[in-house]
Subunit: 446 residues, 2 copies
C-alpha cells in the first residue's frame, strides 16, 4: 500500500510537469458525469499510442456483509466469466487477441478492472466493460468452482505464508470492530460458505453506474472519449437507487497489544509495530503530509535514521524501515519494522528501533532531515518513469475514495509547507507505544 501511495505522488508530478510549470500543477484532466451517475475521467497521455481503460467501483472488502468476507474480492473472479451477452472468457479473449493487457484489483476501499490496449480498441473495451457492469451471469456452474479456486488462492497466499498469517491477526487487532479487520480475500470459513445469492445481492447493490468511475488514460481526446462512454456506459440505467456505505468504527485504542506467531517454516524472523493514524482523507490539515515525511526520515530511504543507525552502524538488522499508509478511505496506520541479521536477535532489533523512536519523541527531527526527506521525494519524482496504468490508478483510487483531483494537485505545495514542528507533533500524537500493535514472527523451536 505504501509503495503504491508513494508512487501516486511521483506520477502526479510527472504528469503535471509535462503539462505545466512547477508552480502550476493542474494537469489537463477532464471529468464528466453521465446522466445515470457514472463518472468519467480522461487523462490525456500522448507518450505512446496506447490507452488504459479502468472501471472503478466504490465498493471493497470493507463493504463485505457481516460474515461474508471475501465477497467483494470474489468479483475479481466472476467478472471475467460469462454475461448475458458474452460467453465465459470472451472479454479476456478479445483483449488477448489484440495484444492487450488486463487485470483487476480489490482493496478494502474499492474494486477496479482495467485493460491496456491500442486506442482504436477503446470503444470495444467500453462495450465489454459496460456489459459486465449489468449483465453478469452468476450461475452455480460458475460460482461453486470459482469458490474452490479462491480457497486455493487463499491457501497459497496466506496459509503457506507465516507472515501473512500473522498479518491477518495484527490487522484485526489494529482495526477492532472496523471492517478493515477482515482480510480482503476473506476468512477461510467464510469464503467456504459464500452463496450465489450473496453474490447476486452484492452485484445488484454495488455494480451500478452511479457507483462506477471510468478512468481513461492515454492517447485519446476527452470529447471523443466522452462520446464513446455515452454510447456504451450511457445506455445503462441504474437498476437500484444509490446506497450509502456504512462502516463500523473502532473504539478509541487504549491498550498495547503484542502478537507473536511461531511457525517452523519461518526462516527470517521479523518485528513490526503499527499505530493507528489517519489517512490523507480524514487527517487534520497537514497531518498526513507530516506523517509521510516522518516515515521517510525514520525509515523510508537510504539515509533514514533506521538505515544509518540500525542497519549500517549498529549492524543489527538486514532491514529496518517505516511506513505510512496514507491512501485509505478511513483510519489507517503508521508503522516500523525490522528484520534481524543471522547473528542478531529479534529483541536486539526491536530495542534499537524503540530507542530511535524514543529519541525522536524526545528530541524531534531536524530541519536538515526534513529538507532531505522532502528532497528525496523530489528526486524520485524527477527520475520516476511511471506507467500509464499507475497513472490511471492514482486518479481512480483518489476519486473512488471520495477525494478530488485538486486534493492531489495541491499536494506538493502542502508537502512544502510541512515544518519540523508539524512532524514532531504528529510523531508525539500518533506514535504512542501504549496504544500500538506489535507483531513478532519467529521460527518454532523444535
Amino acid at each position: 500500500m505504501r509503495r503504491f501511495f508513494t508512487s501516486l505522488l511521483f506520477v502526479i508530478f510527472a504528469v503535471t510537469s509535462a503539462v505545466s510549470n512547477e508552480n502550476d500543477l493542474k494537469p489537463n484532466i477532464k471529468e464528466f458525469t453521465l446522466e445515470n451517475g457514472l463518472r468519467l475521467v480522461v487523462i490525456p497521455d500522448r507518450r505512446a499510442p496506447v490507452v488504459t481503460h479502468m472501471a472503478w467501483y466504490k465498493v471493497g472488502s470493507a463493504d463485505d456483509p457481516q460474515g461474508r468476507s471475501g465477497l467483494a474480492h470474489f468479483f475479481e473472479h466472476l467478472m471475467f466469466k460469462e454475461t448475458n451477452t458474452y460467453k465465459n472468457g470472451e472479454f479476456s479473449a478479445s483483449v488477448s487477441a489484440i495484444g492487450g493487457q488486463e487485470n483487476a484489483f480489490t482493496s478494502w476501499d474499492y474494486t477496479a478492472y482495467y485493460q491496456k490496449v491500442a486506442p482504436s480498441a477503446l470503444a470495444d473495451m467500453m462495450k465489454f466493460e459496460a456489459d459486465r457492469m449489468q449483465n453478469l451471469v452468476v450461475s452455480e456452474e460458475l460460482f461453486l468452482p470459482e469458490r474452490d479456486v479462491i480457497l486455493e488462492e487463499r491457501s497459497g497466499r496466506v496459509d503457506r505464508s507465516p507472515s501473512a498469517i500473522l498479518s491477518e491477526f495484527s490487522r484485526a487487532a489494529l482495526h477492532v470492530n472496523h471492517p478493515y479487520a477482515i482480510p480482503i480475500i476473506g476468512w477461510e470459513h467464510e469464503i467456504a460458505n459464500l452463496q450465489i445469492e450473496d453474490a447476486v445481492r452484492f452485484y445488484k447493490k454495488w455494480y451500478q453506474p452511479w457507483n462506477a468511475i471510468i478512468v481513461v488514460a492515454g492517447d485519446v481526446e476527452p470529447q471523443e472519449t466522452l462520446e464513446l462512454a455515452k454510447a456504451t456506459y450511457g445506455k445503462l440505467a441504474a437498476t437500484q437507487e444509490p446506497v450509502e456505505r456504512k462502516w463500523t468504527k473502532s473504539p478509541r485504542p487504549v491498550v498495547a497489544q503484542t502478537l507473536e506467531y511461531k511457525d517452523e517454516r519461518v526462516t527470517q524472523p521479523s518485528w513490526q509495530r503499527t499505530f493507528r493514524a489517519p489517512s490523507y482523507l480524514i487527517a487534520e490539515k497537514g497531518e498526513a503530509e507530516a506523517l509521510d515525511l516522518l516515515s521517510t526520515i525514520m525509515g523510508g530511504s537510504a539515509s533514514s535514521r533506521f538505515q544509518k543507525e540500525i542497519v549500517l552502524k549498529q549492524k543489527l538488522a538486514t532491514a529496518a524501515g517505516a511506513f505510512y499508509q496514507g491512501s485509505s478511505r478511513d483510519m489507517s496506520s503508521f508503522g516500523f519494522y525490522g528484520v534481524p541479521r543471522a547473528d542478531t536477535k529479534l529483541e536486539d532489533v526491536s530495542k534499537a528501533i524503540e530507542e530511535q523512536v524514543d529519541l525522536l519523541l524526545k528530541d524531534g527531527v531536524t530541519q536538515e532531515e526534513l529538507d532531505r526527506a522532502r528532497q528525496a521525494y523530489l528526486k524520485t519524482i524527477i527520475y520516476s518513469q511511471d506507467s500509464q496504468v499507475t497513472l490511471a490508478r492514482i486518479f481512480g483510487s483518489v476519486l473512488a475514495n471520495g477525494g478530488s483531483i485538486e486534493d492531489f494537485t495541491s499536494w506538493p505545495e502542502r508537502l512544502r509547507k510541512v515544518t519540523i514542528e508539524d512532524v514532531n507533533k504528529v510523531a508525539r500524537k500518533y506514535l504512542d507505544r501504549n496504544r500500538s500493535i506489535t507483531s513478532r514472527l519467529l521460527p518454532k523451536e523444535g
Copy 2:
C-alpha cells in the same frame, strides 16, 4: 460467569435431591409449549410461599446488529418504561407495592426479566410481562434520555474501571470476528448512535412469543400455572415469523496475543491468560466436564495447585485462580489469573503460573486431585442454600441456549465419569500458550 455456572450445578442437586434419590436425578419439572410457540417451564419449589417468574428471550448482545452494539442491553432499560396499556414504571410500581423484587439481565446469549413475589401475584405478573412482550412504547421522550443513562452507566462500569477497559479489548482479541467480541453494554460510540428505529426493529424481531421461555419456580402447581400462562401469554399472536440467530465465527486461532494496559488509577496490578475453549453446548462428549474439574484442580478451591503453590508456599500472589466459562451458547474460554502481592512483581506471578501450567501439561493431574476436585463440588452442593431466583435462572439459561433439562440432570453422572486421562487430554488440547490471550494490567509510571 463461572460462579454462576457452578451454582447451577449445586441447585440442580439441591432440587433433585429434594424430589428423588441420588441415582434418580430427574427433578419434577414440567415443560409446556403454547400454540404461539411460547415455552413454559414450571419448577415446583415449596420451601416458602413465594414464586419467581422469569421471562427469557433467546436474544442477547451477540445478536446486536453490526455497528449497533448495546441494543440488546438497551431493552433492560426500555422494558421498564411505558407500554400501550400501562404508564411509565407502572409494572415496577406494582411489584414494589406488593413487596416483590424484580430485575433483568443481559448476556451475549440471552436477555431475561424476572419478579419474585407471592404466588397470589403470579397472574398479575404474567399479565404485565405478556403486555410488555408486545406493547412496548418506544418514543423519543423515553429513548433519548435512556440512551444518556446508558452512556453514564457505561462510563461508571467501564471507563472508571481500568480492569474493565482492558477486559473489553482482551475479549475482542479472544473472539476475533465473532459477536462475543462486543461489550454487552456496547461500544461507547455505537451506544451514542443508537436510534429509535433500531430499537423498534430489534423489538419486533426478537420480542415474540416463539422466542420467549417463561420460567416459573416456586410454590405453584404446574397445571394451574399453565392455565394462567394461557390466559395471558397465550393470547399473544406472533407479529413476525421466527428468525434464525446468525453469528459469525472466529478464524482458527494461531497467534499468541498479549495486551497491556497502564492506567494511573491501577492500584492492584493483575495478570490473566485465556484460551478459547468450547462451552458445554458445543464441546465434544466429556470435554466440558473435564475442563470444569481441571479449573477446580488448578485454581478453583482452597486446595488448588495455584493456591497451595503460588499463594501459600511461594507467597507470590494474593490471589491466583482458574476459570472455565462453560455456560455459553458458542465458543467460550478457559483461563488463569494472578494478582501479585505488594512486595512481588507481576512477572513473578505470571512465571509461577506458567510453571504450574507447564507442569500440568508435562505430568498431568493425579487421581487424588481429580477425586478431591469432584468431592469439592459435592460438598458445596450439600451445603449450598440456593435461592429460587438462581433456580429459575439455571433452567432459563440452559433452555434459552438450546440445551435441555436432561442435559443438566445427567450432568453429575457425567462428572463422575471424568478420568485423569480426560482432564489431561483437554489440558493439552486447549491450553496452548501459542494461541492464548494474555492481559497485563499495570499502574502507569509517573
